[in-house]
Symmetry: C7
Subunit: 94 residues, 7 copies
């Protein structure tokens, strides 16, 4: 299992083909395009200046959209993941 | 539903044609031009360094003007939205 | 009405022709030239790290001078306004 | 009267010809050269992240030296002034 | 022994050949590729602005993945190590 | 007298010829070379976010070494001085 | 004696020839190479935003490794020293 540090999360990328099902389609535009993912692991949160952990807003299993160019790719036990900071998550699909 | 994270909001873009009705017209100028939108979802607010949520000033349903080049476009269930940070909102039209 | 967010204000630009009356004339110089405006709406102030609003120094009706290249132009109900941050206000003319 | 905002001050520039009298002469050097001024108005001070005003060190009437390229020129009731931040003041001549 | 300062850690680099065993393989991509290491020494943590040590999340013996271009190489008693900041650690492999 | 503001100090530059006497000689190197000075006036210190003055470490009369390219030159009553920030002081010679 | 200010330290550089003895050898690599030194003087520490000194982790006599391009060279009473910030120290050799 990958345990992300601080305010990082590990996600599985949700491929373009699955997007129609979830109802999210990316428009054609010159703007930065977000992508979708499913959260598989969540860090324990960043530490405030008072030394206290700040709880994460994102939970394991969440379906999220995130900034396209964010994160670092990792392959673990044959599957590809992306390690993101929570601040790269735009919204949770509910 | 899209639930934005932190101090982000999700808006529907108010098109140029609707602008005459609301009374806001953008001047011809070399300056950055704001655009209008209607808030459809609001994040729970950013967390201060003391670990406390800072309440959002913008509410669901607000008619806002925002910086033109801000935000990330998302299409969700066939409609286009924009995910902005509250700090990209210039003013609320009341 | 336009309600600016955070530490922003909305001003009416005071045109160059009106400047002689108020007694402020801009010198010919290569430096950044300030301009004058009258405050028509004031935000509720920025939020401190303790989550408290910090009161604005500028009030509705104030005659201010501000940095020339600051702000975003908005036309609302046929009139032009400028949305500024309070930090772009140099001084109040009293 | 001009009332500067935050940690800003308004000064009258002390011309080069008056410098011999006050005893300060600028050396020939490639370094940034300071200039002299007399403080005519003082802001109420910047607000800390805790929401408290931080008192100004400079007072009305002080003879100061400041960084040459700092500030914004303003003409008010026929006289030229400079609006500076207190942090651009190097020293007070006592 | 090398005792890293602040929020730094000392790691042994886990070579590419060992990666198949641990199950992590790096994909071919233009993105920044993480690498693996094993933690051999941990600093006492960074000091907050309040003067308190903030505990490290990483422990001696942890198998980590980290940003490829992070850190400084050191050879000590014939072995190569890398000194990283904890913030360069993406995740712990558990 | 020159009274520096905040965390600034005023120093007399100690000339190169005097350096042999004090025992400090600058090596030939491509690195930034420090210079020596004697402190003639000390500001009251920077103000913390809590609004309290932070005491200066440097005192009037101290023999210091400082970063060569730091500070602003001032001539006052016929003598040359340099206005520095305390953070540009590397060490005190005791 | 040189008394460094704030979070600075003064070190004697440990030459390359001495490195075999201490067991640290720098690898051939394009990465930034650390160097070794022995601490001869330690500042009293940086001051937190609360106005309190933050204790130094490095002590006089410590054998340290530091970032190669950090610091300022000083010659004092015929010997060469380097003035570093504590944050440029990677690790203490114990």
């Amino acid at each position: 299992m990958l345990k992300p540090l601080g305010d990082r999360i590990v996600i599985e990328i949700v491929e373009q083909e699955e997007k129609t099902a979830s109802g999210i389609v990316l428009p054609d535009s010159a703007k930065e395009k977000p992508q979708e993912g499913r959260v598989v692991a969540v860090g324990s949160g960043r530490v405030s200046d008072k030394g206290e952990k700040i709880a994460m807003e994102v939970s394991q299993g969440d379906h999220i959209i995130y900034s396209k160019f964010a994160g670092t790719e990792v392959k673990y036990e044959g599957k590809e993941y992306l390690v993101l900071r929570e601040s790269d998550v735009l919204a949770v699909v509910q």
